[in-house]
Symmetry: C2
Subunit: 214 residues, 2 copies
């Protein structure tokens, strides 16, 4: 469960306190998710500095006390939110990618589903990008874990003989950057772009490169 994972994985709190703040009931997990979903809207709309804990609990429809059951500060819920969004994205894309018949197709479907996710969660760019200034470790971890998943897919595809055998980390960072920029341009900025067409064109670049095919 993403919400639990991130609460457990939280840095800057000692092990005991961390254990104390992990929700133990389904109701508690629901409240935690409500707070994180509300935090996504609050930080997404207002930015870190203007966002407030009372704004988050108001949006979540919870008492202020509920916030402090799970988080000590605005910094802490922001850090948890970056991980939560990163995991939501992973959970959205992973099953779709895993159902693909081969690695080239997995990257096409992965990009299309990412572009769809951005359309539905436009706040993801602002939140992840603001982490660069609020909590650099979270920012870096988001990209490192996302790119590592791409690298593992590439490697598995190479082992299965679907793509070149020399793929590695550099290719994974290139693909990650490609996806993030296409998401910004065609998911975030352009609500009318044909997401499937963008993914198909980018995937053809990825599969075949720019060289003339004569």
């Amino acid at each position: 469960m993403a919400a639990m994972d991130q609460a457990q994985g939280m840095a800057g709190r000692d092990e005991t306190a961390k254990g104390d703040k992990t929700p133990r009931t389904e109701r508690g997990r629901r409240t935690l998710r409500k707070l994180l979903d509300a935090a996504a809207v609050e930080f997404g709309e207002r930015g870190f500095h203007d966002a407030s804990i009372s704004g988050i609990t108001r949006r979540a429809g919870t008492a202020l006390g509920s916030f402090y059951t799970y988080f000590d500060s605005k910094e802490e819920i922001f850090q948890a939110l970056v991980r939560y969004m990163s995991e939501q994205l992973r959970d959205h894309v992973t099953p779709i990618v895993q159902a693909a018949p081969d690695e080239i197709e997995a990257e096409r479907i992965g990009l299309a589903s990412f572009l769809g996710f951005v359309r539905e969660h436009k706040e993801i760019y602002r939140i992840i990008d603001e982490a660069e200034f609020v909590d650099y470790a979270s920012y870096r971890r988001h990209y490192e874990t996302t790119v590592e998943r791409i690298r593992q897919r590439l490697e598995a595809g190479a082992v299965r003989g679907e793509i070149r055998s020399d793929v590695g980390e550099i290719h994974a960072w290139a693909i990650g950057g490609m996806n993030v920029f296409l998401g910004m341009r065609y998911g975030l900025w352009d609500a009318d772009a044909d997401i499937e067409a963008v993914a198909a064109i980018a995937n053809d670049l990825l599969a075949n490169g720019l060289k003339r095919r004569d």
Copy 2:
């Protein structure tokens, strides 16, 4: 001249005032550049909120009055700085790219020179990325103009028959994203990475794609 271009192109100041603040002498242009170079260090080290005008003039070795000869506020020099850095990057990469024998090679050399630029100007990521929060129009313009230059190179390369004839804006955004992420990973985060090797591998992906070449 980049510094003049950006002073002239500044938004939020009426035409007359703008004209008044453009340096008319070589000495004035030198002072303006000193202020912008100092602003890059100040904003790069401290971030927008903690940076101060007095910090900028101290680093530039100029009087506070000099600052107000060219800028009205911290917001205004930040906006000018984003454009200045964007133009410095363009001026660094463009002649190198134009000397390339063909478009595929142009993209390889362009990426290698970008990675080198990042190593020398590590503050560029923090400054451009902070523009997303301080001045979104500048942030977006930086990427749009950078990607538009890539698109024009691709189109010219296609006309010369060096690459596929169906290249366009989507390919340009994909390449822009690839370069920015490779710059972050191997230019900014990893001071020891072999920049030429990274550029060669990414360029081979761009030229030939991921499909097995049997």
